[in-house]
Symmetry: D2
Subunit: 183 residues, 4 copies
Amino acid sequence: MSTYQIGVVVGSLRKESFNRQMATAIAKLAPSEFKFKHIDIGDLPLYNQDNDGNPPEVVKKLKAEISASQGILFLTPEYNRSIPGVLKNALDHASRPYGQNIWAGKPTAVMGVSVGATGTGLAQQHLRNILAYLDMPTLNQPEVFLQMKEGLFDGAGNIGENSLKFLQGFMDNYVAWVKKHAK
Amino acid sequence: MSTYQIGVVVGSLRKESFNRQMATAIAKLAPSEFKFKHIDIGDLPLYNQDNDGNPPEVVKKLKAEISASQGILFLTPEYNRSIPGVLKNALDHASRPYGQNIWAGKPTAVMGVSVGATGTGLAQQHLRNILAYLDMPTLNQPEVFLQMKEGLFDGAGNIGENSLKFLQGFMDNYVAWVKKHAK
Amino acid sequence: MSTYQIGVVVGSLRKESFNRQMATAIAKLAPSEFKFKHIDIGDLPLYNQDNDGNPPEVVKKLKAEISASQGILFLTPEYNRSIPGVLKNALDHASRPYGQNIWAGKPTAVMGVSVGATGTGLAQQHLRNILAYLDMPTLNQPEVFLQMKEGLFDGAGNIGENSLKFLQGFMDNYVAWVKKHAK
Amino acid sequence: MSTYQIGVVVGSLRKESFNRQMATAIAKLAPSEFKFKHIDIGDLPLYNQDNDGNPPEVVKKLKAEISASQGILFLTPEYNRSIPGVLKNALDHASRPYGQNIWAGKPTAVMGVSVGATGTGLAQQHLRNILAYLDMPTLNQPEVFLQMKEGLFDGAGNIGENSLKFLQGFMDNYVAWVKKHAK
């Protein structure tokens, strides 16, 4: 039985990030042949095209981790009605230099937790434009716009029961999507 | 006669950035009471909400420079159909912590130079969403979607004659906009 | 004392439209020199550029009503993560023929009521891009993303008390914005 | 050998529409098992939710034609930095009533011809958000942003030689995408 390594990219660097908590919780809903691996984007320098020819080790490591993944999962908060600069910076690094976009072809999905009800949807609208250009087949439905509130997680950090059926449905769709598009 | 300090934010860190060249060239089209000052965003750390209470000096400096400006001018390339992570990171830093968005109320305009004909327009579509949320009155017209090609600049780094009338019109509108909205 | 005629454009044709109800309710929060007038968009034909030279009467009427307004107020639901085709069709008609965009310069604001918490925000993100191009100075803040639920309106169709302070603040900002930008 | 019926939706009603010309020309680049059929959207009424329970014949016909298609191809101009209201109106009709979105699952691609270099890209950025919500698997690459100029078509209305290789590549990707996703 083949296994699928899923690179998980979280758009927030906050230690107690809701999106990071969600990344841990949602992984438990996947079948056993799916292995989720956190891809760190917090040590990257700000992208500068002048370094395209000689990227630092941390950028090479980022690209290697993406390359080793059969799928990617993005979990992102919304900052100022778009995705965090931190996340865009990682997307930019691994798309370069021109013609060596390492994201291309990796199936993906986007989800997000935000404090308000509206935020993550607005960020995801921009993110989907970017992922289309990066040539990542992106799961359409269900959209996952989560609001951080009592009960989203249970006491053990698992998905709370109110969201469980919805998020299991998301995961099932994601698994099928990755299997359909993984190379 | 009052003077207006304009903070210039360039979305690319590349040393020979076309947008940085344009920043220098366009400033020459402004009346003498407008003083353009480059705001550096290349030394900022990646934004992390955990540091909101105790931002590093370079973030305080960024906020002070924005605060001292009567207007802002953004010049941005397009990376992956949106604005560079570098630029979004700066926007995020100066918008935080919650309730202390330092960009608010600063009149602004956006312009961009890209290698292809389409790029900067797509980036600006996202940027305008962000600036609306940041409560920056943003000049609507003319849109400035510039393609880097022979003649955009003359030998001395000034605006080439083909674009001069258009960009002088942009600058005249920008000057009137800043005067109308500056506090 | 001068008066301001505000053209109100509602994106839904539904008879019991929440956005139309809101249009009526919000007008009561304005000062007496602001007169709100509904602009009907439900009888327009589908826009066809071939008719630019000889538009039907209903299109001429639309343009005349916009032209007679000192400001515009848009209230729109979200259909499929963007604005309704009905609303875009009206925007298209009055922007044409090329060079005779009748919306240009009219100060405006956008607000919306949707059934879900997220919808109208996503529609407004697209609408703001369009309004920038149409050269309409658009109020930035507060964003008005309303969810239709018990208490949004009181029994008499007025704004319910939970939203009253927020929407009065919006109206005050809108009034100041129109006065600043009206010609 | 199975055949694939492709519903072609053109965003402009203009008789000499460049996008309609392109629809005819691009179809010739497809393999013989792909049959392209124009879906007319010019006779639709403006969408009104009050008619969801009893749609007119022309709406039923639209839905039947989409339903009978194994894939959809959108060709759209840009009006005011988004898609035409005419096109959005058709998208809205066939997505309703709630729970009966007839577009769902149909593989698709977007392309466009505009007079300026920038326009169609900005329209497509909005269109892709809408298609994701409508749950249509949408081809990512190549983006097709065409500018109407001498030589785009040859004298017989076929694709001109400068664009032929690029558009054949697009068609090959589209064919593979439809085969992968058609049900």
